[in-house]
């Protein structure tokens, strides 16, 4: 008794300490909330190597929003947007400017001998062909490239070069200073908006998104135009709103369902208040642990964390069902009858979740930490706080619940007596299900996208209009700017050698490496010495002596009229090893061939920038690891059950546990076209729950109170997890479906593991 009092004091002390810590972390800790699904998914090793380059190249772009407007009043609508967008806080217009050709020609003029197009390169040794090339350009009606460069570069190699280099980048055209793109004869005016806040919090995203959408709707209605838009901000806002709605709706519905169950089982307020108290403390423990171990809390963690209610309530049900025995045990200085199964159950569940703590998916680490600490809080509260509540030991089960339990036992005792038949039926069902719906996994992360269809459709339309829908992007990084340009040229040469039809978009033409410029300079000088340019120069009668080589450098380029393009395609950033340079290339029209992809994969300076497929690959690998983890967990479970309860009982317990896990997987496959990693994660939880049930049946036998507690647990868990099936986030609904099926399966299968039917206990009840 004295020991119990000491433990009570200890309980209050630790509760005080935990809450003080929580208060400190909440108000003084550095934490933030995230809602981007990609931020919590795993990254491949190559992605991690290139993450700094990726961040430097695309960070600013990720905060940009694109708006396309078409229709008779498109210009009016475009102007209205430019004016009214200033009313939306933290958003500004990022103007698209068209560089002046005169400035460009003047800028390139000192380096004019360093640039040769493929047409010039091909004909350098043929004076007549060179003259034809130049004549073709010179007779073109008002060719601005010729007009601007003929005086300084009469070989017209620069005119030809600039025309090719600039037209290669020109998906966007300009009219009256307004950028536009033509899509199947339809002109879309293009506006680019920049979100000006760094580290946008979720509520601000929702606010900005709502205001912008309202503005877009107003403009559509006023000007009768087609207006489409895209940007990460809109996806963040949608997923935030969705997650918030689900947390509140599912949370309240789960709580109401659980409270109704408690009321129907005990018909008194104290069990309700006790359950609420345990749930609150468990949630607080889980939340404080997240604040302690993580810098950011993902909203999806909270959606998954609703499941804590389902497991914690199990502890409450066991405590409430056995409440009347506690005083007796305390008076008789006996151990609490629940201590052993609850602690054993907690340890097995915690071990299951503990493995997930080290998962590369930060979402799972967060959920695991939340669950372990939440369950720990619930366990110690159930064991040390609930018995102290006044009137707790007088809690009794309602006659209705006892009758229900007795009927349940009667039903299950029949199953209990036909164990072999039940096991045979289970085996048959599993075989049939495997044949009918063979298990198929699909790791494509895009299938987990929870953005609404209308938003995805707009994104696709904008991507089509700006010609990047079916493009592939490469990131190139290097220690110096020249290395970066050389790697870029190596990549392009490699790809074009086998795929001449592919379109390459990048800064490579406008800024070749010094090495390449020197090669072209040498070739041009040699052709000139051989007199191959005489006919060309005769066309204009102008002279252009070739002076010493002068390279166009990266630094020169950044200060030139095309600096905006340079900043769009290149970046430099600090790393642990000093400054690094990165650029990106876009390939379109033809997909990169398997050979080229293989070559690129082996090149340490290049990474294919395809976040979706990178994450999908990582998810695939991680799924394999989880499958191994599941197999090991099942082996461990079998070993523990055999060791603890002997061969026969251990085997029956193992069949119930493994059988329910397999049923959950196969039935989930039957109800959905494919499985994903979240179905497997659900199986881990099922195993943890199944062990709890099996341990209780092993410890107490199939008797009224155990059956009642387990029934209430199963019903509450089914309600809590079942509701997740309705989540709009595919990850959450997959998880919910499998766990719900698993719980029903455990509920049906677990009694076959019971060591006996405790009829005397039945009689006493």
């Amino acid at each position: 008794m004295r020991d119990f009092n000491k433990l009570k004091k200890l309980y209050w002390l630790q509760l005080l300490a935990v809450f003080l810590l929580g208060g400190y972390l909440l108000f003084f800790g550095q934490w933030r909330i995230e809602s981007n699904l990609l931020s919590i998914l795993p990254h491949s090793a190559q992605q991690q190597d290139f993450s700094a380059a990726e961040h430097a190249l695309f960070k600013r772009k990720s905060q940009q929003l694109i708006v396309l407007i078409a229709g008779d009043n498109a210009l009016k609508a475009h102007d209205a947007l430019a004016v009214k967008v200033h009313d939306v806080a933290n958003v500004s217009i990022a103007p698209l400017t068209e560089p002046s050709l005169t400035d460009i020609a003047e800028f390139y003029s000192p380096f004019r001998h360093n640039f040769l197009t493929s047409s010039y390169l091909e004909h350098l040794d043929n004076s007549q062909a060179l003259a034809q090339l130049a004549t073709k350009q010179i007779i073109q009606v008002a060719n601005p490239f010729v007009s601007e460069t003929i005086a300084t570069a009469p070989r017209l190699n620069l005119a030809d070069y600039l025309q090719v280099a600039l037209s290669n980048l020109a998906d966007v055209e300009f009219d009256q200073g307004v950028a536009f793109v033509n899509v199947q004869g339809q002109r879309y005016l293009l506006s680019r908006l920049q979100v000006t806040l760094d580290g946008l919090d979720l509520n601000t995203s929702v606010d900005i998104s709502a205001k912008l959408q309202q503005l877009f709707n107003d403009i559509r209605a006023a000007e009768q135009v087609e207006l489409i838009y895209s940007g990460i901000l809109f996806h963040t806002a949608e997923s935030t709103s969705q997650a918030k709605a689900e947390i509140s709706t599912f949370g309240v519905l789960s709580l109401v369902a659980v409270l109704l169950l408690i009321w129907s089982a005990f018909r008194s307020m104290l069990p309700l208040l006790s359950a609420l108290l345990v749930l609150s403390i468990a949630c607080a423990y889980g939340f404080i642990a997240i604040l302690l171990f993580f810098q950011s809390l993902h909203l999806l963690t909270l959606v998954f964390a609703i499941t804590l209610i389902g497991v914690v309530i199990d502890y409450c049900f066991h405590a409430l069902v056995y409440a009347d025995r506690q005083r007796k045990h305390q008076q008789e200085h006996e151990g609490h009858p629940l201590t052993k199964p609850l602690v054993l159950g907690f340890i097995t569940t915690a071990i299951g979740y503990f493995i997930l703590v080290f998962s590369p998916l930060s979402l799972l680490s967060q959920v695991a930490v939340f669950m372990i600490f939440g369950l720990l809080g619930a366990l110690i509260t159930v064991l040390f706080l609930l018995p102290q509540l006044k009137g707790f030991s007088k809690i009794t089960c309602s006659p209705f619940s006892l009758t229900f339990s007795q009927q349940g036992i009667t039903l299950f005792s029949k199953v209990f007596n036909h164990k072999k038949a039940a096991i045979a039926l289970l085996t048959l069902a599993l075989i049939l299900l495997t044949v009918l719906a063979p298990i198929k996994f699909n790791d494509d992360v895009r299938l987990l996208n929870s953005s609404p269809k209308w938003l995805i459709d707009q994104e696709v339309n904008v991507a089509k209009a700006l010609s990047y829908q079916n493009s592939q992007r490469l990131i190139i990084r290097a220690k110096t700017a020249q290395e970066m340009l050389e790697f870029q040229e190596q990549v392009i040469d490699q790809v074009l050698a086998s795929q001449a039809d592919i379109r390459v978009k990048g800064i490579n033409k406008l800024l070749p490496s010094i090495k390449r410029q020197q090669q072209h300079y040498a070739l041009l000088a040699k052709a000139d010495q051989q007199g191959n340019f005489q006919a060309v120069l005769a066309l204009s009668g102008l002279n252009d002596p070739i002076n010493a080589f002068k390279p166009l450098t990266f630094q020169n380029f950044l200060q030139g009229p095309l600096a905006e393009i340079a900043q769009s395609y290149t970046a430099y950033y600090d790393t642990e090893n000093g400054l690094e340079y990165a650029s990106w290339l876009e390939f379109s029209q033809v997909p990169l061939s398997a050979d080229n992809l293989l070559w690129l994969a082996e090149n340490p300076h290049v990474s294919l920038y395809d976040t979706a497929s990178d994450v999908s690959d990582a998810l695939g690998q991680y799924r394999q690891e989880i499958l191994w983890l599941l197999a090991s967990a099942l082996v461990a479970v079998v070993v523990i059950l055999f060791a603890k309860y002997g061969l026969k009982a251990g085997a029956l317990s193992a069949i119930a546990t493994i059988g329910s896990a397999l049923l959950a997987l196969t039935l989930s496959q039957l109800f959905s076209s494919h499985l994903n990693i979240f179905n497997l994660l659900a199986v881990l939880l099922i195993i943890a729950l199944a062990i709890d049930y099996v341990i209780f049946y092993q410890e107490h036998g199939l008797q009224v109170k155990t059956f009642l507690a387990i029934s209430l647990s199963a019903l509450s868990s089914a309600a809590v997890f079942g509701i997740l099936v309705f989540s709009a986030t595919p990850a959450v609904s997959s998880f919910g479906l499998t766990v719900m099926i698993g719980i029903v399966s455990i509920f049906i299968l677990a009694p076959i593991s019971a060591k006996n039917i405790n009829l005397s206990e039945m009689g006493r009840s």
Binding site: T135, I139, V141, E173
Partner: protein, 212 residues
């Protein structure tokens, strides 16, 4: 007296209302007037020949080229240089293309504006020209001066002169037919094009196929 003052006040108000209305209508009527000044003969489909002289500030002599042209406003323009070398420029619905001797075509992005202007001039699309240019009388007889309104054009061309020059070989001309075009560039360079057009009801099938 009071009666007269009221009448005056009403008259002033009516005048103001009239000014407001007419200001709104001004832009439209001005454009209409401009297109009337042009009053070009509409030639939706035609073939013909051209002689082009390019005058570069830095060159003493112009660079001369000549060739054939075909257009149908509904499908596009073929501008085919025969002398001094063969080259073909095709303005299609889908953009501007060059064609080499083998018939392989390559798109020239963001460069269709000038070709479109030529097509508008030759086909006599006064409305479109009035929309895209400010039209004034030229110091030269039988010529009009067009200043681009569109930035895209204004960046390349300073001014376009459309002229009717009486030549010995008249092609069913009247004063509304344009047969001489001068494109003045900002750089001081200019392109002079002399045209000889024959209206048609349909382009030859081979040309239509190239423009499709």
């Amino acid at each position: 007296m009071i009666h007269l003052e009221r009448i005056n006040a009403i008259a002033v108000m009516l005048l103001m209302v009239a000014i407001c209305f007419s200001a709104g209508a001004f832009a439209e009527s001005h454009q209409h007037e401009q297109s009337k000044i042009l009053a070009l003969s509409a030639v939706p489909i035609a073939s013909g020949s051209f002689v082009q002289r390019k005058y570069f500030k830095v060159l003493k002599h112009p660079i001369k080229s000549q060739g054939e042209l075909y257009f149908d406003v509904s499908i596009g323009l073929l501008w085919q240089t025969e002398q001094p070398i063969y080259s073909a420029l095709l303005l299609k619905k889908s953009g501007l293309f060059t064609e080499n001797d083998n018939g392989d075509s390559q798109e020239i992005k963001s460069a269709s504006a000038i070709s479109q202007v030529l097509l508008d001039i030759m086909s006599g699309d006064s409305e479109k020209l009035a929309k895209n240019f400010t039209i004034n009388a030229s110091a030269i007889d039988h010529c009009l001066s067009l200043t681009p309104k569109l930035t895209q054009l204004a960046k390349i061309i300073d001014n376009v002169q459309l002229c009717h020059i009486d030549t010995p070989e008249k092609n069913q001309q009247n004063l509304n037919d344009i047969n001489h075009i001068i494109l003045h560039e900002h750089s001081g360079n200019r392109t002079e094009i002399t045209l000889q057009l024959t209206p048609m009801t349909m382009l030859p099938e081979a040309v239509r196929a190239r423009l499709q």
